[in-house]
Amino acid sequence: MKHSVFPLNRWTTPAIIRRALPAMGLLVLLQLASIGAARGDTDWDKPFPAFESNWFVDMSRFSEGAHTGLDCGECHVDMVEGTQKHPDPEAPGYLKTDVKERFDYGRCKRCHLKAHERSLEGAHAEAMKQQQQRKADQTEAAQKDDAPYPAPTCGHCHSAHYDRSQRSRVEVGRAMIETCGACHPVEKATYLENYHGRAAVDLGRAEAAYCTDCHGAHACVSLKKEAETALSACRRCHPDAGKNFADIVIHYSTQRLADDDHPKRPAILRIYLAGLVSLAFVSILLIGFYSHSFLLMLRKIHDKLRRPE
């Protein structure tokens, strides 16, 4: 074997793989895209995927955030004042309460006074009042909170550690859809199905409306009840809009059909039925024409094959 013409020892496994690589190039190329896509999901560099509220503060992201110039103590006053023990196993709800509900967001006022005042006018502040009312009631029935989500504090929507400043309108808008959509999934889905969502979020058209363009920044008002409020929201971009204009259904979802009190229920029912009819019409026509074409083509090719040259 030592003097073999065919030098076997050169054909070690790595060598074979190396030599076979060019031949495998095409296959590898074909796979690269999908591997890349799948690896993107696992996020090796981010050990805490998607959980913004965390005992560990990522200083590399904090340093890029809007609050990077602040010292911990400027917001977490009670942790550093020295009188309070931290962590304190004796404290009520130690490890159990959500930090976003425990933190005193009144401190945000120091810099964000106007935003704080506006947030006290809207539906979120109203929900907060009701939640506090229920907690104060202490009755059995009131304790059974039927609200699917907690009334939001600043921290539910904003990440004080990591949110960056000076983002573009499209960037803020896209992040907003995710933030609001966490508690309003139907509204998020329907908005993304609507022209506004498709243009603004998917296609990045900065002129199209994002959540707060209609529902207000921090005030967060529902446009369901009063037609006048809704119309004034529309007129921000559609100055010529008339009375009926606000009746156009933006958040179109058949789930609303279950809600008898929904003001747009009759309109949604009509849209649904009309859509159903047109979909049935289209499906029947296409299935019919496709079968006709396929069978006719089979017969014609058969005839052609049998025809003498």
């Binding site: 509220s53 503060v57 103590g73 006053v77 089979l298 090719i301 094959l305």
Partner: protein, 515 residues
């Protein structure tokens, strides 16, 4: 203890260095002016470190007194991709969980939450940070919504190791030592149970891993009258022969499947031997010369211009079956219903197998392997229905209509019966599988035939968990018989006919004389 000393010491040294750098580099009096500094990189690094930043005036004076520990001693997000980071991050967890008194109360019973780092160190995850797997617990409220994450590092097993239905089983259900498993109806996954049947908490602090490939471990679920929807018996993995219709591993599998594959391969060789009995390019006797000459001829043909005409034959005559369409539209339709449907299932299975082999986390491969996935369930049932419709049509043509040119031999009957039974038992097994594993309607409805059958089966109170293994074996053995029978019976035409077409093409047989 060591880390607790080293980390602040290292930090302190770093801060000192930066402080010196800042002082020497800039004479700007306020940090507000830092924005316009010529060295933004230095500022960016120094700015987030709160210990160096001058205290804002508004803060109460008490902050000036240093607390026992600085915030970032504990709350710094350590880089857990490094060993040092793992030790730093685990320090926070061990603060409580290393204490033997650490526990919680469920339904009035105390459950220990004490994890000894020394114990953990004996097992594979010694150098892994707690929060690498328990990714969402380091927060207030201190609880996990997602459970421990294995798949940030590990990929799912394929069909060979853990059969496709286990795509709906959490890693922990097999790999942890706890005997308690449950079926979570909300997402329809089999998970580790936190409490036992009596509501007592299960001690899950033992981080040792189970011997997942032992049969005893499988019997956690695969026993009679289990509640997680597993069949009562442990079934083998699919074999390579199943790839004709299902995503299957590149392995022989159970000895019976191996035997079937061997018989099938032997049959192919016997056929080849039969073909080589005649003379090859004038050579009558030596088998070696015949193979050599034959191979030479094939080589010369493939690497010649005839290759393109062979491609044409492959596409038109073999894939689209132009010659059968020439015979009759009805024959083409019957043949296509069976052949194209099997070919499509084969192509899908091959696609899933290859993609999974390259990348086990590939979403498309996983979707194609999961029988309950909407697309997979629907397309499998639809193609199966096509095959069945083709078989029924064949039966009607051969035994009811009986056109003159159709001659029925025993070999035909065997072939038709094998494929027909294979599909019928496939559907029945699918229906029972959906019944047994309690697939909810919104998942199951895509497998429209299987789901319909499962609704029928659930009317009876038979112990379907015990029936399913029998059905699975009948379907599998029919499949094995099909593969073993391929080169001997009528199904030989699957190899013969395409080969004949190609040989005719390259040897220039006149069109009128072709088969």
């Amino acid at each position: 203890m060591k880390t607790k000393v080293i980390v602040p010491a290292a930090l302190g040294a770093a801060f000192l260095l930066m402080g010196v750098l800042l002082l020497t580099k800039s004479e700007a009096p306020s940090p507000a002016g830092a924005v316009s500094q010529p060295e933004p990189a230095v500022v960016a690094v120094a700015a987030p470190e709160p210990m160096e930043a001058p205290a804002p005036v508004e803060l109460p004076a008490s902050t000036a007194e240093k607390p026992e520990r600085a915030c970032l001693d504990c709350h710094r997000y350590a880089n857990i991709n490094t060993n040092e980071g793992v030790l730093a991050a685990n320090g926070m967890c061990n603060e409580c969980h290393a204490d033997p008194a650490c526990d919680r109360t469920i339904n009035g019973h105390k459950a220990s939450l004490h994890v000894t780092p020394e114990e953990l160190g004996k097992y594979p995850h010694e150098f892994v940070a707690c929060v690498q797997c328990h990714a969402d617990v380091a927060r207030s409220p201190h609880q996990s919504d997602a459970g421990a994450q294995c798949r940030t590092c590990h990929s799912v097993h394929g069909e060979k190791t853990a059969h496709a239905p286990h795509l709906r089983v959490d890693c922990q259900a097999c790999h942890r030592r706890s005997e308690m498993v449950r079926l979570d109806k909300t997402d329809h996954r089999v998970k580790l149970a936190g409490v036992d049947a009596d509501g007592k908490p299960v001690d899950l602090t033992d981080h040792r891993l189970a011997e997942a490939d032992s049969e005893d471990n499988c019997r956690k679920c695969h026993r009679a009258d289990n509640e997680v929807g597993a069949p009562a018996a442990i079934l083998p993995a699919k074999s390579a022969l199943c790839i004709l219709c299902h995503p299957a591993p590149l392995a022989f599998g159970h000895p019976i499947f191996a035997l079937a594959i061997l018989i099938g391969v032997a049959g192919v060789f016997l056929t080849l031997r039969f073909w080589l009995q005649g003379s090859v390019e004038g050579e009558e006797r030596s088998m070696h010369r015949k193979i050599d000459l034959g191979a030479e001829a094939v080589w010369r043909t493939v690497f010649s211009r005839k290759f393109f005409s062979m491609l044409r034959v492959l596409f038109l005559d073999i894939l689209l079956q132009r010659r059968i369409l020439k015979e009759s539209v009805a024959r083409w339709s019957v043949h296509s219903l069976i052949y194209t449907a099997i070919l499509a299932r084969f192509a899908l299975s091959l696609l899933a197998g290859i993609r999974f082999w390259f990348d086990p986390e590939n979403p498309m491969a996983l979707a194609l392997m999961d029988k309950n996935h909407g697309f997979t369930g629907f397309i499998h049932d639809l193609l199966g229905l096509f095959i069945l419709a083709g078989i029924v049509w064949v039966v009607i043509r051969r035994y009811v209509v009986k056109p003159e040119h159709v001659v029925t031999e025993i070999a035909d009957n065997v072939a038709v019966a094998l494929i027909g039974l294979l599909v019928v038992f496939g559907f029945i097994a699918e229906g029972v599988r959906i019944t047994v594993s309690q697939i909810p309607p919104e998942l199951g409805i895509h497998s429209f035939i299987g789901y319909f059958l499962s609704q029928l089966f659930s009317l009876s109170d038979w112990n379907w968990q015990r029936v399913y293994p029998w059905l699975w074996w009948i379907h599998a053995l029919l499949g094995a018989a099909f593969v073993a029978y391929l080169p001997f019976g009528k199904m030989r035409h699957m190899f013969n006919t395409p080969l004949t077409y190609l040989i005719e093409d390259v040897s220039g047989v006149k069109r009128e004389k072709r088969v």
